[in-house]
C-alpha cells in the first residue's frame, strides 16, 4: 500500500460525496461519449443511448465494483445501508416501532436474568487472587453434607500440614441482636485479614493478640454495610463499644466498601474466633471443638489433587476415637476451590440454564413475531428489491442491506431492553422486599448493578436475535424474479407461506412450554395456599432462649407478661426435628422426633385424639411419648396405640451429633397419647411422628407462647422488654411470619412463572393476530372472488382459520410433548425430588388448561381477521385490485 493508495482511500472515506460524484461523472461521461459516437455514426439518439448502456453494462454494478477497489467498501456499504435503513424506518414507523418494542421486551427479560447471573458468576471481589483460595471440608458420615472440622482440627492442620501458605477458620452466619438490631457476625481467626490482603479503610484489622485462645480482646471490625447500618457512617466510630451478650466489644476497624469477605452477603462485622463464647453462650468453654469453615491459599506449586492427598493422610492420622471413623474421615475430606457460598460457575450455569431457556423462549416468540412482520414487509417491498436486483445489485448485497436495517432496529431494541431490564429489576426488588416479613430480617436487597458485561451481553443478544428474526425474511424477500417484478407483475407472495407457518408453529410451541410451566406453578401455588401446617400460626410466637445464664430471668419475664396467655417448651427450633428410629419387634421404622412440653399441644392448637399429654413431671428422659395420628395408624394398624411400648434409638451415633441438638439415647418408651398430625413446613414437609417430653428448664429449649392481641405488636414489645434482661437476644419470631415467609418464596417463584406464561401468550396472540390480518388483507382479491362466486361466509371463515390451524396444532403437540419430557427428566433429578412436594409437575389439569387457553387464544386472534374477511364487499375488493 503506497502513499497514493492511502491518499485515495482517505479521500473516499473523508470526502465520500466528492468521491461518489467523481465516480458518477466518470461513468456517465463514458456512456454519453459512446452514445455521441453512435449518434455521429447516424443512429437515432434514443437507440444510441440504449445501445451505449447495453455496451457499458450495469452502471450501479460497475460503480460498486469500482468502490470495491478502494478497500473501503465495507465501511462505505455499511454507511449507505445505514442511511437506507433510517430512510426505510421513516417510511414504516409503526412497523419499526413494533419490531423495536417486541425485541426490547424479549431482550429485557433475558437481560434481567443475565444481570443476576452476572453478579454470581463474575462478582468482583476486593480480594486479590481469590482463585487461590481453597476450602477444606470433611463430610460428617450420616449427615447431609455438613462439614465437621473443628477449631482444634484447624490448629492441627496449620501446624502439621504444608498445603497452604496460610489458612483461616471462620464461623459465619451468626445472627444476633446488638442494641436491639439484628446483625450478622462472622467470627474469624486473625489470619483471615492477612490472607485476604485487604486493608481496612479505617482503624485496624484483627491481630493475633485479639484472637489468642483462652483470652484475646473483645474487638470487632465493621464491614462497610455494618458501619452504615449500625453507625450511620459515623467517621468517629473507632473506639466505640457495642454490647454483645452483655459484653462490651470495641470497634477497632472498618473495612472498605465492596469487601464482603469471601461470601455474597457481607456480615455486619467480624470478631475474633476466640470470642465465640460471647456470641454462642452454649458453646462457652468449648471453643476448640466448635465446627468451623476452613480455607486458605494453596502454596505455589501445590495442586488441588495433591492438597487433597496430603490432607487425607493428615486426616487419617488426626486424633480420632476409632479406626473406622478415622478411615471414614480420611475418605470424606475434600479440598475445593473456595468461592464462599457463591455457586461455582458450572453450578451457576446449571442453575440458570433452565431459567435462561424459559426467559429465552420469550425472546424466541418475540423474534418469531418480528420475523413474520418482516416477511410481510418483504413482500410489500418487492418492487424496490426487484428493481435493485434487476439493475444488477447482487442478492448478497441486498440481504446485507436488509440485515443492516434489522440490526439497527435490534440495537435500538437492546437499548430499550436495558431500560426494560432496569425497570423490571427495580420493580421486582421493591416487590420482593415489600413481601418479606420485616421481623425476620432487615431485608436490604440491592438491585444488581448493570456493568459493561450486561451491556456486552445485550449487544451480543441483539446481534444473535437479528440473525434469528431477520435472516429468513431477508433471504425470502430477495428470492424473487427481477424480470417479472420489473414488468409490474408483483409476485403476491414469494412463497413465504412455509416459513410463516414454521414461525407460527415456533411461537405456539414456545408459548405452550411456558404456559404449561406457568399453569403447573399456578395450580401448585393455589394448592399450597390451602396448605395446613397442622398447628396455630395466627397468635403464636417462638422465643429462642439462647443465653443460659439469663434463661431463668427470661422465663420469669414470660410468665409475668400479660400478653402471653400460655407458653410451652419446644426444642430444638421452630420446625426442626431430629430423625430417630423406632424398633418394634424385628423391624425398624424411621420416625421424626420432636421434643416438646405437655403444654405444647394446647399452645399450638394440636388436639389430642386419645390418651393424655405430658405432665410437668415428665420431662427430659422420661420414658413416655405421644405419637401422631398417622404414626399410630402405621405402627399399630389394629390397636389404639395407648400403652404400647417400643424402643426408640437415634439413627446415627450420638458422638456425631452437632452440639446444638439435644442428647438422644436409645430407650424403651410407652405411648401415653395420640395427637393429630402436624405437617410442619411445606418445604421440608417434616412430620413429627413422635413427641418426646422436655421442659423449659432444659438447655437449648425455646419458648412457644400464645399471645393475646396482635402478635407483631406483642413481638416488638417483647423484644424491647427482653433486651433489658439480655442484650444478646435470640430470635423472636411470630409463627405467622414463618408461615408467611414460606409463602413468599412460593409466591415469588409462582409469580415469575405466571408472568412469563402470560407474556408468552400475549406475544403469541398479538403475533398471530397481525399475521392473520395481513394474510386476509393480502388475499382480499381471492376472497372477494370466492364470495362473488357465491361462497358462503362459513367457507371464508374456514379458509382464514385453516391458514393457521396446522402450524398451531404442530406447535401445540411439540410443546406439550417436550413439556412432558422435561417434567419427566426433572422429576428424576435431586432437584425434582426437592420441589415435588410443592410443585406438582405431572398435573394433567395444567396441561389441559394450557392447551385450551392456547387454542382459545389462537381462535380469538383469528376471529377478527376472519370477521373482516366475511364482511368484505366482494365488488369493492375486486375493483380495488
Amino acid at each position: 500500500m503506497d502513499l497514493r493508495d492511502v491518499k485515495l482511500r482517505a479521500r473516499a472515506l473523508l470526502a465520500p460525496r466528492q468521491a461518489e460524484r467523481d465516480l458518477r461523472d466518470e461513468l456517465a461521461f463514458h456512456v454519453d461519449r459512446e452514445a455521441r459516437k453512435l449518434i455521429d455514426e447516424g443512429m437515432a439518439p434514443a437507440t444510441a443511448r440504449a445501445r451505449a448502456h447495453a455496451r457499458f453494462g450495469s452502471v450501479p454494478l460497475v460503480a460498486d465494483e469500482c468502490r470495491d477497489q478502494r478497500g473501503t467498501a465495507f465501511v462505505d456499504d455499511a454507511l449507505r445501508d445505514l442511511r437506507c435503513a433510517v430512510r426505510s424506518f421513516a417510511h414504516a414507523p409503526l412497523a419499526s416501532a413494533t419490531v423495536v418494542a417486541t425485541i426490547a421486551i424479549g431482550l429485557g427479560v433475558v437481560a434481567v436474568l443475565f444481570t443476576f447471573l452476572n453478579t454470581f458468576l463474575f462478582r468482583t471481589d476486593r480480594v486479590p487472587d481469590v482463585e487461590q483460595f481453597y476450602a477444606v471440608e470433611r463430610l460428617q458420615p450420616g449427615t447431609d453434607g455438613q462439614s465437621s472440622l473443628t477449631r482444634a482440627d484447624f490448629e492441627s492442620l496449620r501446624r502439621d500440614t504444608s498445603v497452604f501458605t496460610d489458612a483461616y477458620a471462620a464461623v459465619s452466619g451468626i445472627d444476633l441482636r446488638v442494641d436491639g438490631r439484628a446483625m450478622a457476625v462472622t467470627l474469624v481467626t486473625a489470619s483471615f485479614f492477612d490472607l485476604v490482603r485487604v486493608r481496612p479503610s479505617m482503624g485496624r484489622a484483627l491481630t493475633a493478640a485479639d484472637d489468642a485462645p483462652n483470652g484475646g480482646n473483645p474487638v470487632i471490625v465493621l464491614s462497610d454495610k455494618g458501619w452504615h447500618r449500625r453507625f450511620d457512617r459515623d467517621p468517629d466510630v473507632i473506639g466505640r463499644t457495642v454490647l454483645v451478650g452483655g459484653v462490651p466489644f470495641t470497634v477497632v476497624g472498618v473495612m472498605p466498601e465492596g469487601f464482603r469477605g469471601l461470601v455474597v452477603g457481607a456480615p455486619d462485622f467480624w470478631a475474633p474466633l476466640a470470642q465465640l463464647g460471647a456470641f454462642r453462650p452454649n458453646q462457652r468453654g468449648r471453643e476448640s471443638s466448635a465446627v468451623v469453615e476452613i480455607a486458605g491459599r494453596l502454596k505455589p506449586g501445590v495442586s488441588g489433587d495433591s492438597a487433597r492427598a496430603q490432607l487425607r493422610a493428615w486426616s487419617a492420622n488426626a486424633p480420632a476415637s476409632t479406626a473406622e471413623r478415622r478411615a471414614a474421615a480420611a475418605a470424606t475430606i475434600d479440598v475445593l476451590p473456595h468461592r464462599g457460598t457463591v455457586p461455582r460457575p458450572m453450578e451457576a450455569v446449571m442453575l440458570f440454564a433452565p431459567l435462561f431457556i424459559a426467559f429465552g423462549l420469550i425472546l424466541l416468540i418475540g423474534c418469531a413475531n418480528v420475523a413474520n412482520l418482516l416477511l410481510a414487509r418483504g413482500v410489500a417491498r418487492q418492487r424496490e428489491i426487484g428493481i435493485r436486483l434487476s439493475i444488477g445489485a447482487s442478492r448478497g448485497r441486498i440481504v446485507r442491506q436488509l440485515m443492516t436495517e434489522s440490526l439497527l432496529l435490534a440495537l435500538v431494541a437492546a437499548a430499550g431492553g436495558y431500560v426494560v431490564s432496569r425497570l423490571a429489576l427495580t420493580g421486582a426488588v421493591v416487590w420482593v422486599v415489600g413481601m418479606m416479613p420485616a421481623d425476620i430480617w432487615d431485608v436490604s436487597l440491592n438491585v444488581p448493578a448493570a456493568d459493561w458485561r450486561v451491556a456486552l451481553f445485550l449487544v451480543a443478544a441483539a446481534v444473535a436475535s437479528t440473525a434469528l428474526f431477520a435472516l429468513l425474511p431477508a433471504l425470502q424477500a430477495t428470492r424473487i424474479d427481477p424480470v417479472r417484478t420489473l414488468r409490474g407483475e408483483l409476485v403476491r407472495d414469494a412463497r413465504p407461506g412455509r416459513a410463516r407457518n414454521a414461525l407460527i408453529g415456533v411461537q405456539v410451541f414456545a408459548s405452550a412450554l411456558l404456559l404449561i410451566g406457568a399453569s403447573i406453578f399456578l395450580r401448585s401455588g393455589m394448592a399450597s395456599s390451602q396448605y395446613d401446617q397442622g398447628f396455630r400460626t395466627a397468635d403464636t410466637v417462638m422465643i429462642e432462649l439462647v443465653n443460659e445464664p439469663t434463661r431463668t430471668a427470661m422465663l420469669q419475664a414470660i410468665a409475668a407478661d400479660a400478653a402471653i396467655t400460655q407458653y410451652a417448651a419446644v426444642r430444638p427450633g421452630m420446625l426442626d426435628t431430629l430423625p430417630g428410629l423406632a424398633t418394634i419387634g424385628q423391624g425398624k421404622t424411621p420416625l421424626r422426633c420432636k421434643f416438646v412440653s405437655g403444654d405444647y399441644f394446647g399452645v399450638m392448637g394440636v388436639p389430642m385424639l386419645r390418651g393424655r399429654t405430658f405432665t410437668p413431671a415428665e420431662r427430659d428422659g422420661a420414658p413416655v411419648v405421644i405419637v401422631s395420628e398417622s404414626t399410630a395408624r402405621a405402627l399399630w394398624p389394629n390397636g389404639n396405640a395407648i400403652g404400647e411400648t417400643f424402643r426408640l434409638e437415634p439413627d446415627r451415633p450420638s458422638e456425631g451429633q452437632p452440639e446444638d441438638q439435644p442428647a438422644f439415647s436409645s430407650h424403651l418408651v410407652t405411648v401415653i397419647g395420640v395427637s393429630r398430625d402436624v405437617t410442619g413446613s411445606r418445604f421440608t414437609g417434616n412430620k413429627p411422628g413422635v413427641f418426646m417430653p422436655t421442659s423449659l428448664d432444659a438447655p437449648d429449649t425455646a419458648a412457644m407462647v400464645r399471645i393475646a392481641g396482635d402478635p407483631d405488636l406483642a413481638r416488638r414489645t417483647l423484644i424491647e422488654h427482653f433486651i433489658k434482661i439480655d442484650p444478646n437476644l435470640g430470635r423472636i419470631v411470630t409463627m405467622r411470619t414463618v408461615a408467611r415467609l414460606e409463602k413468599v418464596f412460593l409466591t415469588i417463584a409462582f409469580s415469575i412463572a405466571v408472568a412469563l406464561g402470560a407474556l408468552a401468550l400475549l406475544l403469541t396472540v398479538s403475533g398471530l393476530f397481525s399475521v392473520l390480518s395481513y394474510l386476509v388483507a393480502q388475499r382480499t382479491k381471492e376472497i372477494g372472488l370466492r364470495m362473488a362466486l357465491g361462497a358462503p361466509s362459513r367457507a371464508v371463515t374456514r379458509l382464514v382459520l385453516a391458514q393457521t390451524a396446522r402450524p398451531v396444532l404442530y406447535g401445540l403437540v411439540a410443546g406439550t410433548v417436550l413439556a412432558a419430557a422435561l417434567a419427566t427428566v426433572l422429576l428424576s433429578t435431586p432437584f425434582g425430588a426437592f420441589i415435588s412436594p410443592i410443585v406438582h409437575v405431572a398435573d394433567p389439569v395444567a396441561y389441559l388448561a394450557s392447551v385450551v387457553i392456547i387454542v382459545a387464544a389462537c381462535v380469538a386472534a383469528a376471529a377478527l381477521p376472519a370477521t373482516r374477511a366475511v364482511r368484505l364487499d366482494p365488488m369493492r375488493a375486486l375493483r380495488e385490485e
Binding site: 493508495d5 461521461f29 455521441r36 477497489q69 444488477g392
Partner: protein, 109 residues
C-alpha cells in the same frame, strides 16, 4: 460481469497499461483504442474497464487527473506512472514468454 470471454483473463490490466504508454487518455478512449487496434477482436464490456482502472490507480501504476475532454466536458484522464512503466515491462516480458511457450506447444504437440 468480467471481460468478455474472448479476452484472456489477467490481460486487461496489461492492455490498459500498454494503451497508456504514450498518451494520457480517458476511459472511453482507452476502450475505443483497445477495440480499434485489435480490429474488433477484443470485445470488452466497456463498464468492466473502470474497476480495472481504479484498481491500477490504487496500485499506483496509473494516476488520474480531471481535464476538459475533446467534447468540452470534464473527464477523468489517466496517465502511466513510473512504477506503471516498470509493471508494464514486467507484464510484457511475462506475456511474451507465455505466448512463445503456448506457440511452441501448439506447433509441436
Amino acid at each position: 460481469m468480467a471481460a468478455a470471454p474472448d479476452l484472456l483473463p489477467g490481460t486487461l490490466d496489461m492492455l490498459i497499461l500498454r494503451t497508456l504508454q504514450k498518451d494520457t487518455l480517458h476511459g472511453w478512449m482507452i476502450s475505443e483504442r483497445i477495440q480499434q487496434i485489435s480490429g474488433d477482436v477484443l470485445q470488452i464490456t466497456q463498464g468492466s474497464l473502470y474497476p480495472a482502472l481504479h484498481r491500477l490507480e490504487h496500485r499506483g501504476w496509473i494516476e488520474a487527473e480531471w481535464a476538459v475532454s475533446e467534447l468540452g466536458r470534464r473527464a477523468k484522464f489517466y496517465r502511466l506512472t513510473a512504477s506503471g512503466r516498470r509493471q508494464l515491462a514486467v507484464e510484457t516480458r511475462a506475456w511474451a514468454r507465455m505466448a512463445a511457450a503456448i506457440g511452441r506447444v501448439m506447433k509441436l504437440a
